[in-house]
């Protein structure tokens, strides 16, 4: 009797998730499988590694570059989001906290391609950043340089993703028990100590989740490197678009995508390890 009820429950459960599962299978798993197959197929249909050979021959530097840029951006995002969220939680000037809370969220609503365009004019040699620096006397006109290279990509990524991670981390910090913070403050600890020793260890999980999500998102962005960085090396997404648009070479494009997937999978492994650990603790 109990076994029959359990079986029925399982069937109902499967029926409930089947629409979502169908969409994931149809629009993600199957195309991924096709992409995988095409990356290994030669023109005559046989199995080949030539596309991967070509990918490594021409684009190894770009793969390493993509990983480096995204890691650097993730690190900066972590630092920035902890700093902003920390100030929102521990700040003592209510007006400053209110202004910061209102201001930091704006880049959230801006798509990457718009962020890329903004940075293109902001970071150029004769762009707004340099005009402000020259106007305020911080640099000489001849010292102005264009930041439209790997630094521009990092700036665009950090500017766009930090608010998202800050949102997560600030939320986690706000839900902490204020007793610990107040106790530490009462004992005379400076605010940075409270942040580092008391608040941060408790929100470490959320920071990791936000950073990993940003890592995977930034790895997939085409617009920002295409619009900001004309130099070589550049990110792998630009190479994928280039192989398709200029050479109609879907095979190498698929191979490059699979390699990016491997890199992203590294991030996913991090995330899952933490989530499993978290689930085991509770």
């Amino acid at each position: 009797m109990a076994a029959a009820a359990e079986r029925r429950g399982r069937h109902v459960g499967l029926a409930l998730i089947s629409p979502a599962l169908a969409i994931v299978v149809a629009f993600f798993i199957i195309p991924l499988g096709i992409s995988f197959a095409l990356a290994f197929r030669a023109k005559d249909g046989s199995f080949t590694l030539q596309h991967f050979d070509k990918s490594f021959e021409l684009y190894t530097t770009d793969l390493v570059f993509s990983l480096a840029i995204v890691l650097l951006s993730s690190a900066l995002i972590a630092v920035l989001s902890i700093a902003i969220a920390g100030y929102l939680t521990l700040g003592e000037n209510p007006r400053a906290v209110a202004v910061l809370r209102w201001l930091y969220r704006w880049p959230l609503f801006i798509p990457f391609v718009v962020a890329g365009q903004l940075m293109r004019t902001f970071l150029a040699k004769n762009g707004m950043l340099n005009h402000v620096l020259i106007g305020s006397g911080l640099i000489e006109p001849l010292q102005a340089q264009s930041v439209l290279d790997w630094r521009g990509i990092v700036i665009a990524f950090v500017w766009k993703q930090a608010p998202f991670v800050t949102l997560l981390v600030a939320g986690a910090m706000a839900s902490l028990d204020r007793q610990h913070i107040e106790a530490a403050r009462n004992l005379g600890a400076p605010r940075w100590r409270v942040l580092w020793d008391i608040v941060l260890p408790q929100v470490r999980g959320t920071v990791l989740v936000g950073v990993v999500l940003s890592f995977v998102t930034m790895l997939s962005v085409l617009s920002v490197p295409l619009m900001i960085n004309p130099n070589s090396p550049t990110m792998v997404t630009v190479d994928v678009a280039y192989r398709i648009n200029t050479h109609s070479d879907y095979a190498v494009a698929n191979a490059l995508c699979l390699l990016s997937l491997l890199v992203a999978a590294g991030g996913a492994w991090f995330y899952l390890r933490h989530a499993v650990k978290g689930a085991e603790k509770t």
């Binding site: 021959e57 021409l58 530097t61 293109r120 150029a124 040699k125 004769n126 264009s146 439209l148 295409l226 619009m227 900001i228 960085n229 004309p230 130099n231 070589s232 090396p233 550049t234 630009v238 190479d239 280039y242 398709i244 648009n245 200029t246 050479h247 109609s248």
Partner: protein, 381 residues
Amino acid sequence: MRFRLITAVAVAAAFAAAQPAAAQTTLNVVSAGDQNMVDYVNNYLGPKFEAMNPGVKVRAVGTGPGDSGSQKIYEKLSAQQKAGSAAWDTDVAVVHQRGAATMVNEKLLMPYRNDVAAGKLVSRDTAKNALGANVDGYVLPMFHSQIAFAYNPDLVKAPPKSYAELVDWVKKNPKQFGYNGVKGGMSGVGFVMGWVSANSGLGDKLEKGPYSAGDKATIEKSLVGLKDFNQNVVMTPGNAGTLDMLNRGEIAMGPVWVDMFYTWQADGKMSPKIKLSLPQPGLPGQPMYYVIPAKAANAALAKKFIDLAESPEVQADGIVKQFNWYPGIDPQFVQSKLAPADWNKLFTDISPSDLAKYGRPFPLSDYFTDIVEGYERVVLK
């Protein structure tokens, strides 16, 4: 209850009224290229054609810029061919040379040039030869675009007349020349093609063939010089990036599309003092072609549409005046339809004889691939 009945009747009436009054034919035009190509059909060609042919509706769809846009059209037609459809849903397509060459090879297109009056108005080689493929009869050029060096005459007193002079100029004026590489857009690709044409010694073979895979080594050797050249130049983020940087004064010279350049000047996005020049042995340009799919549902209407689009009046008003492109049909037929000021605008900096001498086609498809991949192997490493 009454309210529901009234709503239902109102909806049914609206639905009935929305049905077309008489039997209407729809002409489907699919165009690769930027959004302005679709707007051209929707805002200019379409209404003109509909006025001349009552009962016909022209519908234009864009597939995106560059060869990938043409690739999408090819894939669609190829799929319909493989499925054995009796009538295909595209009547007129506007594609690039590579796309047209592939489509003719796979018998996806209908020959129509001898069936339209405008077919006699085109004598340029591009109407018969698309990057080495024989497309005679299957295509008519919609326009001819051209890449040229745009330069700031205040900073560049005497623009370099050849690639050798350019190399010297760049050494004396580092970081004043900018181009967008091969991954940023076709103006940069065109510059690299011109470089190889000037420095490899292969000359006309690149454009006329026959293709020989053994030339890869020669091509890569000519690209070694480009790697050194790149140390003294600025890489720009795209066709528009070069124009932006020229306008902001960050570079003094760079390769640009002539039509894009003139359009920006007309829109006020580019300083009017910037000028154009063509170096020896030349820079490439490319036409886009009007084609009719082999099993187009409305082939007769499609031919009439293309005839309208290639008529001297439309070429003068639409192609030259609106878009600042060089016309698809022979220039002498178009010149008489334009005021001298409008005609001369295209030829102020680059004379018709310069254009004839130094405006080249792109190399054959296989050489194109070799040059671009050679750039990646030699220059980008």
